[in-house]
Amino acid sequence: MKSKVSYTRLMKSEALYGYIFIAPNLILYAIFFIFPALMTFVLSFTSFDLFSPPSFVGTAQYVRLFNDPLFHKALLNTLYFALARTTLTIVIAFWLALLLNRKLFGRALFRTMHFLPYVSLLSAVALVWTWLFATDGLINTVLGKIGIKGPMWLTSKIWAMPAIIVMSTWKDLGYSILIFLAGFQTIPSELYEAAMVDGANWFQRVRNITLPLSTPAIFFAVVTTLIGTLQDFDQFYFMTKGGPAYATTTLSYYIYEVGFKWFKMGYACAASVILFLLVFLFTLIQWYARRRWVFEG
């Protein structure tokens, strides 16, 4: 009987400690993370600015959103940026990771070089690339030397987005390389040995062993890169400010522009909900796929 009582007491104190231990974390998280996220949904059904209280307008903001050509443009830009950047990143990173996986002289230095952009300050390197892409900047001067008249990259409606895609791919390449390198280590070396006995060349080994067995890693890198591209903001702010003529205004930039420059905050909340849905969709795909392809990493 006595032991039973002390056991209950222990359980009670364990539960109490449990709540005490998570309390500071949970309280801060509830106030500064969950509450704002929920409020975005609520406020997307209202109209307000910095100085006036919200007034309920129903789904009017969403209706406006779907008729707003600028919002359509932002969505298309986001899609363009996300798809182009993800494809470029994954393809380049996969081949580089294959090479970086070989035991070569100076491999540690090679790896550091490829990873350096990823660990550098985004705002600083965005400025460096603004400088490189300037109309009379280094890139155009070099192009001019070989007889190509370079475009006015960041002030051109056509070329501003590709310029930012190049910069962003350069910046985040190291991340995907790292995921792939970790993925390659899970492939049993016996497979390669058997393939080499059978006389398979390097491309055949990559195509028939490395590529299929890296699908979980590739999928993981694709989804995280996609989610990342939806949230990119800094490079747009530093390199083009969303211009010229909204050519580089993505959904993230549009939310900032509408909310904090035009102060249409209810409207910006509705756009945020759309952004959330996109991120949510990709996350769902990832969680669902994780059950089938478990990527240990």
Binding site: F21, F32, G106, A124, T135, S189, F233, Y237
Partner: protein, 302 residues
Amino acid sequence: MGVRGLARAEVPEARGMRSRKRGSLMTQLRRKKGDLIAWIILCVSSIIMFFPFFWMIVTSLKPDNEVFLLRLPSKIVLDNYVKPFVELPFGRFFINTFYIALICTIGEIFLCSLSGYAFARLRFPGRDVLFLVFLATMMIPIQVRLIPLYRIMQFLGWIDTHYALIFPFLTFYTAWGTFLARTFVTTIPRDLDDAAKIDGCSIWGIYFHVILPQMKPVLITIGIFVFVHIYSEFLWPMLVINSVELKTVSLGLSMMQSRVYAETPWNRLMAAAAVSLMPMVFIFLIGQRYYVQGVVTTGLKG
């Protein structure tokens, strides 16, 4: 979920080497040729990857009248590195960024280790539901929380104070850190807790004397990640900080960029950019192993 296993995965070459010893002379020669091609490609791509940094440094050393010329500086002007600290309070920006990032890093380590332990080891009603809340909300991006968070800061009167940075930042990477810490604690053998319990250790004692020392690697990973990310945070500080003396490094860089391209002091801006990169590169170089673990384990992106 092998947080520890990754340390092993980081030294992969051992496997490939074994098989390379075997094989005929032909395969070895072919291998050598392949290695040479790979080596050349990697040299080229490394140069491309490093080139923007090289050009940043070259520009940062140029005198004003040579900035727009495509060549190495005729004389090296180190004054460009001094100007940002004199004409703008870049020293102040660094102090601000460092102390905010440090407070948040220590805070996050404390919060995540406590709740990671609680979620992994202690039994209490609602535990799994609460953990699920952390997990499910992890991917909500800042843009989605931006406007209400701004209104909360207005309501608290924290706009243009460092509170507006510190408190929200304490929640930016919490879910991720809690998840990582919990996963790690589940890999610590329970025998250790039980032994301490038999010795009469309280739950707090077990956390402090048994679990916390064991958690060191994962806490370093969390710490490095939180520090680096808060150091580079731009959008949120830009919205809530107006006063120059309260600004962070990223905001300082943005102050130097003029709307008119030709009026931007590119040589001094590149110098400031180079200096602002250094803490992050330094942290990466000394904490590479932990940093890499943080990236690979989670897929949280900067």
